[in-house]
């Protein structure tokens, strides 16, 4: 399956999961599909048959509300059967609308409240240094999430201590819950801020799997690394793209049918 077909299949799964569960955050999930494909199919040293493999690379989805895409990618990668996703947001199920540690194989940490993933990833990176292992820790944050002070606490520590095994991917869709990041709390340009904190920074197209993979695989001898991935919120479904309302809206029956057609 090529990257485009895989991305389309994952988006279809996400749409069905969120529609069936009357869930939200569909725009957020659609926007990170290629980033997840690049990580899980090209970059991460992981084994879906042995999710707790020693010295594996770790991934934390810090913007835990975009988890439908994460679960769908883990299923596509073979961590668990796709039928498990029928339990998404269901009564009695452990599979919540925010990432929960222990709910599915492959999930490394709980997220949902923003600003938690990078500090946890930093802790994992410190542990890897202690253990003298060469694995890498990847954390995907949202550009809106960068409002949280705790993210910057971790950025400062990682930069100062030259945590070169820590990689932060910023989903740079330029939207947050109530509108554009530029109008709510503009923190751009991230590149100069992160550079000032001692990070190495790359920018790339967040929907080009090959470019993303090459960028994510770059090695950095003495600095933590940030990849600013330019994305489109709601990517793949025209009426959802770049409309912040799809942060929280659940698709109606008509919208669902139309979206399915666009993904066909």
């Amino acid at each position: 399956m090529n990257n485009a077909t895989l991305a389309r299949e994952i988006r279809k799964t996400v749409l069905k999961m969120i529609y069936n569960a009357h869930g939200s955050h569909i725009g957020c999930a659609m926007g990170i599909v290629e980033i997840l494909i690049a990580l899980y199919f090209k970059v991460l040293n992981i084994d879906p048959k042995n999710p707790l493999m020693q010295n594996r690379d770790r991934f934390i989805l810090s913007k835990g509300h975009a988890c439908a895409a994460y679960y769908a990618t883990l299923a596509a990668r073979g961590f668990f059967p796709k039928t498990k996703l029928d339990q998404f947001m269901a009564d009695g199920s452990p599979i919540a609308a925010h990432v929960t540690y222990g709910s599915l194989p492959g999930i490394e940490a709980t997220a949902g409240s923003l600003g938690h993933g990078l500090p946890i990833g930093l802790g994992m990176a410190i542990a890897s240094k202690q253990n003298k292992t060469n694995n890498k820790i990847y954390v995907l944050t949202g550009d809106g999430e960068m409002d949280e002070g705790s993210v910057w606490e971790a950025i400062a520590f990682a930069g100062f201590h030259k945590m070169n095994n820590l990689i932060m991917v910023i989903d740079n869709n330029r939207f947050q819950s109530e509108g554009t990041t530029a109008s709510i709390l503009n923190l751009e340009p991230f590149e100069t801020k992160l550079t000032a904190f001692g990070w190495s920074v790359s920018k790339t197209d967040g929907h080009d799997v090959e470019k993303l993979s090459r960028t994510l695989k770059k090695t950095h001898s003495s600095k933590p690394y940030a990849v600013i991935a330019r994305t489109t919120k709601g990517k793949g479904i025209k009426f959802m793209e770049n409309d912040y309302i799809w942060h929280g809206k659940s698709p109606s029956e008509t919208e669902y049918s139309e979206a399915l057609k666009q993904l066909a």
Partner: protein, 307 residues
């Protein structure tokens, strides 16, 4: 008391490289050996408690047993949501060591006092709350914490608490009988145990035989022992250097109200839900809050008279 905890963890960390110690830039009291001998296990995380608790969770998710150290308000309330989500929700091996219980830092003002922490930590699922009265208990409970899975919170004093004259053993989760008495029971927690002993001396002079039980583990609480005393005493009292809301007294009140013995005389001694506008030494503030031995004894005598 803090050295009793720190040294216990240090000795264990020398033998076990998976034990880590994080401080929020308040580890200056730690012996230099810590930095020298544990360079990959001891980290000053800077003045950034939210990150520190998140890092602790990340270390624990990587198989480490983590101790996090700072002054109580900073290591509990400042990072509360990280403690909830990262530590307790994920049920990780993170041990929070808070110094400055109650009114120890009274002259510093209420920024540094800790009269809310028991209530806040107690309400978190999976969290265990440990409140030793002296360095002897702190050392033993720190040693026992090495074998406890999941999160714990240590509420410890400062550095000047004396060792008890006669050594004894305490066990995590079990109340400790400090003094025998047949009329009433005072349940106390933390360093204010000494005021319960003063009160019991004064009560003896008034022909009231007061038993003292030290509840060094507030969660899980020794429910069996407390229910036994509710059934077999004329009155029970709680004493803590903490708000009467949410702390030891509240935990005992919950047991009293569900015990089927509602007729028991029961009173909580603690800070009565107030921030004083004046500051002072711990002994001065205990007096102002009427949780010194003399005030407690008088109040107990009155409680027994009016019933």
């Amino acid at each position: 008391m803090r050295f009793a905890v720190i040294n216990t963890i240090y000795e264990s960390a020398l033998k076990n490289k998976d034990i880590c110690f994080l401080t929020g830039d308040l580890g200056h009291v730690f012996p230099e050996e810590f930095r020298k001998n544990l360079p990959y296990q001891y980290f000053n995380m800077g003045i950034a408690e939210q990150n520190m608790l998140g890092v602790a969770a990340g270390l624990a998710l990587s198989g480490k047993k983590v101790y996090v150290y700072s002054i109580i308000p900073f290591v509990t309330l400042r990072a509360l949501e990280q403690i909830k989500v990262d530590v307790c929700y994920q049920n990780l091996d993170v041990n929070i060591v808070g110094i400055g219980s109650g009114l120890v830092y009274g002259t510093y003002g209420n920024t540094h006092c800790a009269i809310e922490d028991i209530g806040v930590m107690r309400v978190l699922p999976n969290m265990k709350v440990i409140s030793p009265a002296n360095p002897l208990e702190a050392q033993q409970l720190a040693q026992q914490s090495l074998n406890i899975k999941g999160p714990t919170y240590f509420r410890i004093g400062r550095g000047k608490e004396p060792m008890p004259l006669n050594p004894y053993r305490v066990t995590f989760g079990k109340g400790h009988l400090v003094r025998k008495g047949k009329d009433i029971t005072i349940f106390a927690t933390g360093t204010i145990l000494t005021e319960a002993e003063k009160a019991a001396d004064l009560l003896t002079g008034n022909h009231i035989s007061a038993e003292i039980i030290n509840i060094h583990t507030i969660k899980p609480i020794d429910q069996k022992l407390i229910i036994d005393r509710i059934k077999n005493r004329k009155a029970v009292f709680s004493l803590e250097e903490h708000n009467v809301i949410g702390g030891l007294g509240a935990a005992i009140a919950e047991i009293v109200s569900e015990s089927g013995h509602p007729g028991i005389i029961f009173k909580r001694f603690g800070v009565n839900d107030t921030y004083l506008k004046e500051i002072g030494q711990q002994s001065y503030l205990r007096n102002r809050h009427k949780i010194d031995g003399n005030s407690i004894a008088l109040s107990i005598i009155n409680s027994l008279k009016t019933h």
